[in-house]
Symmetry: C2
Subunit: 322 residues, 2 copies
DNA sequence: CCCGGCAACTTGAACGATCCAATACTGCCG
DNA sequence: CGGCAGTATTGGATCGTTCAAGTTGCCGGG
C-alpha cells in the first residue's frame, strides 16, 4: 500500500496536480468531464487530502479546540460532556475535527490558546462555562481568533457570536407546569445571587409567579450546589407545596428534605432519569450543532458582519416528582 | 507579530537552522554554550515548532485519537467521560494531544481509522469498550498502527498492550465488606451472561462467597442494564439481606425493590454519590494515565518487545446503603 | 488571415520543518 | 608546523499541497 498523493491521482487521471487540487477545492473552474475523470481516479485510488501539507500551505488546520473540564461536580459535569458529544458529531459533519485540552484556570487556558494556535494552527475555539469578567473572550477577540461561546457573555457587550439556553424560559415552564397542576405556593431553591445562570433561572420562576399573581415572599432559599447543602436549604422552605430548583443536585436535596412535595430539577442529568425527577432539559445536541454552525460560518468567511446570538428554549421532562 | 520560524531563531542565535533543529530534537549533539544561546533565542522569540511542517517531514503528528461514545446510557456513559478527562491530562503531559471521533459501530470506526490515519497522520489510538470478537484490534494490528486498549481483549489472545480494571476484585471487595458487616445471604444482581465485564463481576462475588463457605443458590438474578429492569429482577431475590450489583443502574433498581437491604453498586457514578449508594470505584484517571504511558512507549520505540498488560485494582466507596 | 480574449489546464515556487551529505572547525599528534 | 581524526555546523533536497503566473487551444471580430 503505497502513499497516494495528489500527484498519483493526477497521473492516473492524466491531468496536472493543480487540476486535481481544483477539483477538490474549486470544482466549478474545471470542465465537467475532466472533473468526473479526476473524481473517479480519487475514488479508485482512495486518495485523501493530507491535512498537514494543506495546513502548511493555507495555514488552516480544520481543527477546532474545546476545553474539557478537569472534573467538576459529578452530577452537573455531565452537562458539558453531553455538549461535547454533540459538538464532535456536528464538527465531523462540517468537515472539522475536535481537539481537546484542559486548563486549570482562565490564565492557563489562555496560555494553551497561544500554544495551540502557534503549534497546531488551530482554526477556532468553542468556549464553555462563560462567566462574569471572562478574560478569555477578549484575548481571543484581540487576536482575531475565530470563536463562539456556549453561554452568553455575562455582563460584557455582545461583540461575538454565542449560543445559550434560555434558562429563564426553563424555570418559567417548570413553574407554569406546577401552577397548572394546582400548586400555588411554589418555592425556588437556587444558588447564591451573582452567577448569571443562577440569576436567570430564578428570574423565570419569579416572573411566572408574578404573572399568576402569586406572592413569592418566604418562598425562596439559596445554597451552594450539592445534595446535602440543597437539603438543608430546602428544609427552610416549610410553607411550600412545590419547589423549582436551579439544578438536579439541589433538587435531590429538596426531595430528601421535603418528602411529598412536588420537585422540579434542572439539566435533566442521569440522576434525574434514575430517580424519576422531573427536570428541565437543555437541548445540548442542538446547542452544539449551532455553535459549530456559527463557527463554521466564521471560518469560511460567510458569517454576517454582526455577530449572531441564539437563545434556545429548553423543555420540561415530566416524571414522578411533579 | 510576525511569524517566528526556525530560521528566525537561527538568525537571532547566530547559528544555522539545522543547529536549532538539533537543539530541539537531539540536544546532546550540540555544544552546551551553543545550546544555551539557541534556547535563549527560542525563549525570547516565543518560538514554537510548527507541527504541520514537522509532521510533513517526519510523518508523526503528536496526535492520538479516542472515540467518544454517541450517547449511551445516561448513568454509565459518564465512566468513559471520566476516562477521557484523565486521558487528555495524561496526553498533554506526554506531549500529545487528543483528537475525538465518533462512530456508529465497529465498521464505521474502522473507516474512521483509515481516514484519520491518511488525512491526519494520527500517531496512535486508545480504544475503549472492547468486546468479544472485536474487529478493531486486528485491523489496527495488521496495519502496524500503534494502539492500546482500555479493556482486555475478551476471548482473543493478548497480542497487544492493554489496561483494565480488575472487575472481579471489585465485586470481591464488595462481598467481603458485606460479609464483614455480618451479612451471609448476599445476592448478586448482574447482566445476562456473555459479556466479559459482567461475567468477571459475577465471578468475584461467587468466588468470595465460596471462600466464605456460603452457598449461592437462589441468590442470583440477571437483567439488562437499567433502573426499572434492575428493580424487577431484584424483586426475585427475596431471601437476601444484601445485594452486590454489576452497575449503579441495577443497584438503584435493587434499592427500590428491596428497601432496607444492603446494596452495593459498581462504577461509583454521580448517581451513587447523589443518593449515597455504596459502590465500587474504578481508578479511571490512573487507567487513562497508564494507557497513555503504554502508548507513548509504543510511539517512541521504547516499548518492550512483548506487550504489557495491566490490571488495576478498584476500590470500594462505602456510603449509606451498605 | 491575424490577433485579442477567454476558458482550461500546466508549471514552478513556496509553506517550515527535518534528513542527508558535505564542509568548517577543533584539538592533538608527529 | 602540517596533517589527521572526530565533531560541530552548513547548504540543499524533500515532504504534499496550494498559490501565482504561464501556456495552450479555441472562438469570433476586424
Amino acid at each position: 500500500m503505497e502513499k497516494v498523493t495528489i500527484a498519483t491521482v493526477a497521473e492516473r487521471a492524466g491531468v496536472s496536480r493543480q487540476t486535481v487540487s481544483n477539483v477538490i477545492n474549486t470544482p466549478e473552474v474545471v470542465r465537467p468531464e475532466t472533473r468526473d475523470r479526476v473524481r473517479e481516479a480519487i475514488a479508485s485510488l482512495g486518495y485523501r487530502v493530507n491535512q498537514a501539507a494543506r495546513q502548511m500551505r493555507t495555514g488552516r488546520s480544520k481543527l477546532i479546540a474545546v476545553r474539557i473540564e478537569p472534573a467538576r461536580d459529578g452530577i452537573n459535569g455531565s452537562v458539558l460532556d453531553r455538549f461535547l458529544h454533540g459538538l464532535t458529531d456536528a464538527a465531523a459533519l462540517a468537515g472539522y475535527r475536535v481537539m481537546l485540552y484542559t486548563a486549570a484556570d482562565d490564565a492557563g487556558e489562555i496560555a494553551t490558546y497561544d500554544e495551540l494556535l502557534t503549534a497546531y494552527d488551530l482554526d477556532g475555539f468553542v468556549l464553555t462555562s462563560t462567566h462574569h469578567g471572562d478574560p478569555r473572550t477578549s484575548w481571543l477577540a484581540e487576536r482575531h481568533v475565530p470563536f463562539v461561546t456556549f453561554g452568553r457573555p455575562w455582563g460584557a457587550p455582545d461583540t461575538h457570536s454565542w449560543v445559550d439556553v434560555d434558562n429563564a424560559a426553563g424555570t418559567a415552564a417548570a413553574t407554569r407546569h406546577l401552577l397548572e397542576t394546582g400548586h400555588r405556593r411554589i418555592g425556588f431553591l437556587g444558588w447564591p445571587a451573582g452567577s448569571g445562570v443562577g440569576d436567570a433561572r430564578r428570574a423565570g420562576w419569579a416572573a411566572t409567579m408574578a404573572e399568576a399573581g402569586s406572592p413569592i415572599d418566604d418562598l425562596e432559599a439559596a445554597a451552594e450546589d450539592g445534595v446535602d447543602s440543597g437539603a438543608s436549604a430546602a428544609a427552610r422552605l416549610t410553607d411550600v407545596t412545590a419547589v423549582v430548583c436551579a439544578s438536579d443536585s439541589l433538587a435531590l436535596g429538596a426531595l430528601r428534605a421535603l418528602p411529598g412535595r412536588a420537585i422540579v430539577g434542572f439539566d435533566d442529568t442521569a440522576v434525574a432519569q434514575a430517580v424519576g425527577l422531573t427536570s428541565v432539559s437543555q437541548p445540548l445536541a442542538e446547542a452544539a450543532a449551532r455553535c459549530m454552525g456559527l463557527l463554521a460560518e466564521l471560518l469560511d468567511g460567510s458569517a454576517p458582519t454582526t455577530p449572531t446570538q441564539l437563545l434556545l428554549p429548553p423543555s420540561l421532562v415530566v416524571r414522578r416528582t411533579a
